[in-house]
């Protein structure tokens, strides 16, 4: 592990976007209740991306002052789910939003 001199910021995850595959039961309501009740989590948003016979693919978005990834992972796994990928993380003292750059604009234009 590398150590830098200016790493005295809080190592806190403030936003987490996960791509999760989970069984239909326990449902999204139960999962959202469980996740939003955690310390350090302010809010949870679970959106269905795809539905299959027994399972569903969902996007879980969480925001809060101190999100503990390992706890979240444990809960999702206990609910029978599997994290496919971490699609977005925002960490630090402040929540940084995505910014549009000239490159993005030109790419949009080309499309």
């Amino acid at each position: 592990m590398l150590h830098y001199d200016n790493t005295h910021v809080d190592k806190m995850i403030r936003r987490l976007v996960l791509d999760v595959l989970k069984p239909h039961n326990p449902d999204k309501i139960e999962l959202s209740k469980k996740l939003s009740g955690l310390k350090g989590v302010d809010g949870v948003n679970i959106i269905t991306i795809e539905i299959d016979k027994d399972v569903e693919n969902v996007k879980i978005i969480m925001e809060g002052p101190d999100i503990h990834f390992n706890t979240i992972k444990k809960i999702i796994e206990d609910f029978g789910g599997a994290i496919h990928s971490i699609d977005g993380v925002a960490a630090g003292k402040k929540l940084i939003e995505d910014v549009r750059t000239p490159q993005d604009v030109s790419t949009t234009f080309l499309r």
């Binding site: 069984p23 039961n25 326990p26 139960e30 027994d54 399972v55 609910f79 029978g80």
Partner: protein, 196 residues
């Protein structure tokens, strides 16, 4: 304690065990009541005057029913739950036996087995209570037989009412239907006695 109850509630919801256990309760409770009714009527028609004999036979039958109910339900429910979990594991591509789904399945298996084993056992024990009074010398054995038959027929009626409540139909008619089955058993037993 509330944490424990919350967990049980989640297991109940997840495993959808409530309707299954209701079905098992009525089905096996009915079995238990009918068997005890058969034993008591049989003892009456055979002219036995020994309450210990009736209690021993009744207890033997109720323990047998309880054990067979417990193990029968445990084995079948476990097989069904494992099958369902296996199908889900195939879809999820991972083991789920340690997840809340697996634990809820195990809970449901034990719960259903307990309901299936205890319902005939307790109904049988309740029906046999008059004979304990008879052994203690409070009532003669013939009265104990009448009381026991009455209690058992009343339990059948209550089971019918319970079914009526579930189906939200007329509970009295539902109760009478169950009671009729008990009365048919009584009638058949008396016909056997006449033929013999």
């Amino acid at each position: 304690m509330s944490e424990f109850l919350k967990k049980i509630k989640i297991y109940f919801e997840l495993s959808k065990v409530a309707p299954i256990s209701r079905r098992y309760f009525v089905m096996n409770g009915f079995d238990g009541a009918m068997i005890i009714l058969g034993i008591v009527i049989g003892a009456y028609l055979a002219g036995t005057s020994n309450p210990i004999w009736i209690i021993t036979t009744g207890l033997g039958a109720s323990v047998a029913m309880g054990l067979s109910g417990f193990y029968g339900a445990y084995a079948t429910e476990e097989a069904e739950r494992i099958r369902t979990l296996n199908n889900l594991e195939k879809s999820m591509l991972k083991k789920l036996d340690k997840s809340i789904i697996g634990r809820a399945g195990k809970f449901a298996t034990v719960w259903v087995a307990l309901i299936d084993g205890l319902s005939p056992f307790f109904i049988a024990i309740i029906s046999l209570i008059p004979f304990i009074f008879s052994i203690l010398g409070f009532i003669p054995v013939v009265h104990a037989i009448y009381f026991s038959m009455g209690i058992t027929l009343f339990i059948l009626f209550l089971l019918g009412i319970f079914l009526g409540k579930i189906s939200k139909k007329n509970i009295i008619i539902s109760g009478i239907k169950m009671l009729l089955v008990g009365l048919i058993l009584t009638l058949i037993s008396f016909v056997f006695k006449l033929v013999a």
